[in-house]
Symmetry: C3
Subunit: 315 residues, 3 copies
């Protein structure tokens, strides 16, 4: 599902989904179209009948695992869960041995989460030709299905033409794989204006924000935007000394009803969850009429269905 490298046949290029940085807009749009079909309640119980898929999480995440599991079930696949954060790797087996072993059992698809950047890509590179690896989040690098589900949510609210949209991403972009995948997708789909806002210590300086309008002033950044994509503030940031206190963070970067009034009247609010209510977002906004947080969750299953079907279905 990565863009074809020169000289690489297209079929090989779409064996895995590692990130969105090199996915062509046409492929992204096709996945979103199919995801929209699934989001409307359609199943495809024969699509992956007889195919086994394993979730392989080296970093725990029940929500994301359940979402992929539901997606696989609605496609008729057999689903296995391997919690690598607690189980077999305690015997000293490497991640690659674990993947190859389960692959040798006949499992065709792997949904992998890992705390290290690039770990999922490395596993995918070593997988057998018939195996598909989907990145369910690696380090700070990428969380491509989250990026896609956010685009689906935006599209449902604002239509397929992103060229007039002003989108604001707020918070700890520096440590966020969600933000990186969102930014790649917004660029690919031609978003009109991408703004990024957060405390300087939480913004990356590595080219991630190229082409974005960057600011530390939340109130100013909100002016007239069509969508606000809030990020979760990890509590480790306090321990890292990057944020002084939750109170300070909330005062400067917490989304309240009063602040949201600066955005366009029909602006939508998104958050990848789980939310720190009272920190980066208030209850009123999280549960308010402009929130699309639960819609994002539902779209997550639909997007994962589209991805698994595209990678593992009959070709």
């Amino acid at each position: 599902m990565n863009a074809p490298r020169p000289g690489t046949p297209a079929a090989d290029a779409s064996q895995h989904l590692i990130g969105l940085h090199d996915m062509p807009a046409a492929r992204m749009t096709a996945l979103l179209d199919r995801a929209q079909y699934f989001a409307e309640g359609h199943d495809a119980r024969q699509a992956l009948a007889g195919i086994a898929i394993c979730t392989l999480f080296f970093e725990p995440s029940t929500r994301t695992r359940l979402s992929f599991q539901l997606a696989a079930q609605r496609l008729g696949a057999d689903v296995l869960n391997f919690d690598a954060s607690t189980s077999s790797t305690s015997k000293g087996e490497t991640a690659l041995d674990t993947l190859r072993t389960i692959e040798a059992m006949g499992v065709r698809g792997f949904v992998v989460r890992h705390k290290e950047d690039g770990a999922v890509a490395a596993l995918a590179a070593a997988a057998a030709p018939g195996t598909a690896v989907v990145n369910a989040g690696d380090g700070r690098s990428a969380h491509p299905t989250q990026g896609l589900l956010d685009m689906l949510t935006l599209r449902q609210a604002k239509g397929p033409d992103f060229s007039h949209l002003k989108v604001l991403v707020v918070g700890d972009v520096r440590h966020s794989r969600v933000a990186r995948s969102d930014l790649h997708a917004l660029r690919a789909l031609g978003a009109g204006e991408i703004r990024v806002c957060g405390p300087k210590a939480l913004l990356p300086d590595d080219g991630t924000l190229d082409g974005c309008a960057v600011s530390g002033d939340f109130d100013a950044s909100l002016a007239g935007v069509d969508a606000v994509m809030m990020l979760r503030l990890q509590r480790e940031r306090m321990e890292d000394g990057l944020v002084d206190s939750l109170e300070d963070y909330h005062r400067d970067y917490g989304l309240t009803v009063a602040r949201l009034a600066r955005a366009a009247p029909d602006a939508i609010v998104m958050h990848p969850g789980p939310m720190n209510r009272g920190v980066e977002i208030t209850d009123e906004v999280a549960d308010g009429p402009q929130s699309r947080v639960l819609r994002q969750v539902g779209n997550g299953v639909a997007v994962r269905m589209a991805v698994l079907e595209a990678l593992l279905g009959a070709r």
Copy 2:
């Protein structure tokens, strides 16, 4: 599945199963009739085909979870397990956010266990209109499917007319959600005489025992009863200082073959499990001809099938 409140349409009233205190006898009987059909080995693999059910246990219980899982599988549902005692709520997410998130993924049924009284009812009250919540045990309040499976077991042994039955409930009624659900069900089905026996410190004084014949004398209470429902003695009761020792408890309230001889000759013995063998019940009784302990376990799956089908099947 709760009794209709005035002005509330019946369909809404039967959205959830929280407790048995307000379930009309007619509804209870209909569920038991359907459970009897399932107990005879029938499946209904199409009943919940395409419907996803999630077990959501904030307090661990492998036995009850497996029983619900088997019930859901025999109805053709997709089953997910969420062990909330270890996993995601560590990120600070509330129980309600967890339920709403999984609900947003398209899950239609939740089987919830929680250590706090009323927690399951609170979650049910906040669930979406199409969602069904089944209480798999909350605090000391209710364990309605256990109550129903106990009634099914009684009915199989003694027939559908409970008006001539003498039933004895023995042990730590004060801390037992099983006992509370059993007492509600026995009253609803018109049991002739309900006796309760246990040490004073383990009997409730809150109205739970209204209408029951209460005694601290186990030998006397057993005289002529048709069924003995033993309760599990939690070891915490020693730490609480409510019970002196397991030996003392066994001497006064342990069911032995000799004691059981005081009951009716065809009396049955029940226990919700897991049993403390040698404490509240001896091996000879637990494994003897009058024991219905394993029958109760089998009936548990049947009752849970009937409940899930009634709440989530085509209406």
Copy 3:
């Protein structure tokens, strides 16, 4: 699946699979024939439709559990996982109560692992007539499906006639249930020569090696063999004082490319996994052309399908 005891009807004898010590060669061959069919990619999704199988692991092993789970799914069974190493037995319930309880829920097949020798056989002896118990490894005694999958792997490489084969088993035979099951199977199928090699402290003196050519000299033992079956070195052996260091062990009993050159040119290398790379086997050998390690893993699913189908399918 054990050999009939005198006076015992055959049907009863094949209720369980506990070990290979008493399995007739004809039955073993029939299972391997069927496993070969499954290894070629065939499913039998109706074979166990509607039948529930529970993995019941009192000692954790994710790999073996996943392999059985995949096998059961490809036979259409409902699969439940019970991690007895962490869950319910914490309430003091015995292993037998746990099995009987899940059996009473309608589960027909149990895949059991236990750290104590004979524990699985004891559970099987107490199971109900219609229940099948498969030993997924008990203590040092037996791991029969591993023995069968190793035979299937040998047969695929060397053909069905074992009478001319020289097979070498290397390592900690004393503590290995895998080795014991392999030796039983090799004898049953008439292997021409069985050699065993390892440090004296890790070889059993209890009759396990009767009829084998035993040596402490790895280089000499390798001469001309058709198959090398390496065993995993548990790190506990150092703590036990049975092995001085991993370096010493590797020097004396590690399989390297140079050493492997002493075997027959077309010799195959096997290992039950997970491998201690750099200890009992080098990367070059583990991933080399003579390695059948991943083939063994694939054969594991096929063998387990054959076993579950034989024990639980329509008779």
